[in-house]
Symmetry: none
Subunit: 431 residues, 2 copies
């Protein structure tokens, strides 16, 4: 496969002061990836004519393809056409095809085309016009110093349609792409990046060079990605897919899905499949677990009630936690969380239960029960298990981590898995 040097140049003052988050470049990258093409370098600058000319000149010397995004609007700070003309020593001229597009666009909206809009038809001589289905700004293409330069609008939905329907087909006809590039994703929960690397190092003395390993962590989720750059390695990939599946067991939530579902989605799907109901009794997560579950469409068939028992009084009143247990052991204790789980089960007549009680912080910690302490109870009426964890981080990180672990423990129960997840076997402070 021909290795193309593809670069992206984004322009916009709002990008430089952080007023907007750039989602355009990720979208462009994904569309190119579908052709097996990867962007090599991305430069972002303000709407400044000198900076633009500098970058266009410098990038077009190195790159085979340059996609410029933004700066096609009607206002004075939209400078892409002028900058490109200056960089390539081309005069600007009115393009009849672009004028026609602008006329149509205005008429459809019951407007009269004015001088300001007409600026969008003044483009470098000999540019090829690229249709914009949704907006007034046409795109355009020039070839300069063996570099194909595509200028595209900054408005995300206009860009997306233009990429999909115009630019990707154009690039496709100019390059010979193959189906070489193949990616396999494992969506995992409960293993850290370094633990996972160690596992893989220990298991496979020699990881095959043909398969590139990638990791992406977010909270307690980790995506493990295996990439091959040539389809002749497909067999090797299949072999390692099996090996990794075996190695990670139920730490794997799913394969191949991107973007991956939430933890709650896995739990709801399993509950629906087994026709079981779940209830939750939450103290430190304050409704977050219930909210995660009910964010999933279809959850009403498996979830009827959640008890947000934030105070001791309410633990007693709502789900019959004994004042004896509360007084003797405190709210953050094995005994209380067990009674919470039992109480919620009894009250709601569900099959599965989760109860959590902990100290989310930043205040409220003591020497024996520091901020981050949490007791989790989970299971069915005949088999409620408990575990103590200490989870560091901000209040928010703590709440999300507790909720996801509690849901993962139920997911493992539903899978009838005996495996001990990493976050429990690593948990030295278990009680």
């Amino acid at each position: 496969m021909q290795k193309l040097n593809i670069q992206l140049l984004l322009t916009g003052n709002e990008l430089m002061i952080g007023d907007i988050v750039d989602s355009n470049s990720a979208m462009i990258a994904q569309k190119l990836l579908s052709l097996g093409l990867i962007i090599k370098r991305k430069v972002t600058i303000a709407d400044d004519i000198e900076l633009l000319i500098n970058e266009i000149k410098s990038i077009s010397k190195q790159a085979d393809i340059l996609i410029i995004n933004g700066g096609l609007g009607p206002t004075v700070d939209d400078l892409t056409a002028q900058a490109l003309a200056d960089s390539c020593h081309l005069p600007l001229e009115e393009h009849p095809k672009a004028v026609e597009h602008l006329n149509k666009w205005s008429t459809l909206r019951g407007r009269v085309l004015d001088h300001t809009n007409l600026k969008q038809a003044i483009l470098p001589e000999s540019s090829n016009i690229i249709a914009n289905k949704l907006g007034s700004a046409v795109g355009f293409h020039v070839n300069f110093q063996q570099c194909d330069i595509y200028c595209t609008p900054g408005v995300p939905n206009e860009l997306e349609v233009m990429m999909e329907e115009e630019i990707i087909p154009l690039i496709q006809t100019n390059v010979t792409t193959t189906d070489n590039y193949q990616v396999l994703r494992f969506h995992t929960f409960g293993i850290g990046e370094s633990d996972l690397q160690k596992l893989i190092r220990d298991k496979f003395q020699q990881w095959p060079q043909e398969i590139e390993l990638g990791f992406r962590a977010s909270s307690n989720f980790l995506e493990l990605k295996l990439t091959i750059k040539n389809s002749k390695y497909k067999k090797v990939l299949q072999h390692y897919e099996k090996e990794i599946s075996y190695l990670l067991g139920n730490h794997i939530l799913s394969k191949l899905l991107n973007p991956p579902p939430t933890m709650a989605k896995y739990v709801i799907d399993l509950l629906i499949k087994s026709q079981k109901k779940i209830t939750v009794a939450e103290s430190c997560t304050g409704g977050l677990i219930a909210s995660m579950l009910t964010s999933i469409s279809g959850s009403s068939t498996v979830f009827e009630a959640g008890y947000v028992t934030y105070s001791n009084k309410m633990k007693h009143q709502m789900i019959d936690v004994s004042t004896k247990a509360l007084d003797k052991f405190g709210a953050v204790s094995k005994e209380v969380v067990l009674e919470m789980a039992q109480g919620a089960l009894l009250k709601s007549a569900a099959n599965y239960t989760i109860a959590v009680s902990g100290i989310a912080g930043p205040n409220g910690g003591t020497e024996t029960k520091p901020v981050g302490s949490v007791w989790i109870a989970w299971g069915t009426s005949s088999n409620i298990k408990t575990v103590y964890l200490c989870i560091r981080g901000s209040r928010n990180q703590f709440q999300i981590a507790v909720a996801n672990r509690a849901l993962d423990l139920i997911r493992r129960d539903l899978l009838q898995s005996d495996e001990v997840p990493f976050y429990l076997s690593n948990n030295l402070s278990k009680r």
Copy 2:
């Protein structure tokens, strides 16, 4: 003001193939803007040692400040330290302060520090270590060819705290910033961008050229930004600050704060101030309102109980909603939501209550109660009000919009405001 050349270098394979959208650079830009500093240029590349060295060498020749983001993790594709060492001709060495941080970090998590993690302490000689409160990867700073280079972690929340608490203060001591550039933000809820623009156009025939107007919308929140580029316009800005405050009334949640607090934070603060308690009874939001409230530190003093009554049976059993009302009017009705609010108040002995019942979709809608229908009840035992809204969007958008509006209605009650918010006065389908 000294015009600094500030550049950003982002590294990560996932950025190049569009696996993630980069939100870090917008956040860095906003923090720098608070010092009146603007990023000049931003380059994004894959985790490739040669590319990294090229960029570091080339940028450090031009820039006064270079912030490198990403590539500080423990894995083999994290290359920032090595690339920086090579670029600056500095040997790599183990930094005792970084080892100490890693030891502390591991101990807190009940782990043993291993070889893989220790890589994060191998940094260019004479680097200054920058603390990372939330993660294992310390940041580091070197000065090379008169360019201050700051290396920062790619994990967003780790980066945010490090920017706020470490790097911004460091930069602040090194540069003389002036107060020329001034930004005033209004954090508003419940007005759309076009409504707000119309309001302003109708009120001020001639908006002053000295003040730049900016808008940024997310869900039902809208940030209105007034910017002056020279402090001589301060008086004009003050005048328009008053005018806008008057025009928007209680649609304004706060001024000047960035990032703005969540809606729940405003509500919790007002409850604490007035020493009142709140309870919630949730059907279609399934615990989201309780979760938003309890995500705020200090909420335990004003929030004791939340009732997630997802099924009809549980509405009756947990908070005494009459089967008569459920049978006659259905779960999504004024009568039921009123009884939910009353029941929750009685059971929990709180002062304020919110109850919601609606159809989150995508399924479950009927002709008279389409997806998006919701009844909200809110107030105190002596004065519970109800309203019907129809909110379009995905299941998630619906749940978030309902939760925020319900909280906003309580916020207005707590402020003893008689104003009718835009989303109610605009609500043609009110019943």
